[in-house]
Symmetry: C2
Subunit: 124 residues, 2 copies
């Protein structure tokens, strides 16, 4: 009666397994990897995945916060899939890898959600 883990509907995933996972387009093209997740302390929800790029598109050391809802795990690719064109990635809100992003400032976060046209994780 046991079924493969991948088929289970309510499965959980370890935070340190997501960190380092590749992010690819549906075509399989790798665009970066997940550095870490940003969690909302109050609700315990994942708010953003922080994407890093190994020089892809000349994005270099920039880190992009992507709303978690935009990422889908693709078993076949063994990667998180995201449908963002080169131009969208180049113009996306970012911060330098060695800088701190001010996560306490909701106006910064609103810019991210507006850019991706993605609902905020904190409701309205």
């Amino acid at each position: 009666m046991t079924e493969p883990v991948a088929e289970k509907k309510h499965s959980l995933i370890a935070s340190d397994r997501i960190e380092g996972t590749a992010v690819r387009r549906a075509s399989g093209e790798k665009i970066g990897r997940i550095e870490r997740l940003m969690l909302d302390k109050v609700s315990g929800k994942v708010a953003y995945a922080i994407l890093s790029f190994g020089g892809f598109l000349g994005i270099g050391n920039k880190h992009l916060p992507i709303p978690w809802a935009l990422l889908t795990y693709n078993k076949k690719l063994d990667a998180y899939e995201i449908d963002l064109a080169d131009e969208e990635l180049k113009r996306a809100p970012y911060y330098e890898a060695d800088e701190e992003f001010d996560w306490g400032d909701r106006s910064h976060e609103l810019k991210i959600h507006r850019y991706y046209r993605s609902p905020t994780y904190w409701g309205y």
Copy 2:
């Protein structure tokens, strides 16, 4: 007009900053550290913190899944605080550090929530 990060109400925290953080009692006594978080893939919510114990109470290599709602970050201690007595920790649901816990089986998870008398993260 800038206020210290710690005072901000809507701040976010990085997953790789939580991993490795100490878990202490209100007295300051260290009981273990957070190995990783287990996230619900569907809702994107943190379900459990996985606690490891460096031989404390003879618990050794056991890993304890603790419902996330039971942990409170204590700034003064620079640790997550949890109010569990030695006896509670000794009898708590666990798995061996080198074993896989079957996260796809809700009946296992229900045992954890019942043990800690903590509401499930998936609702009723």
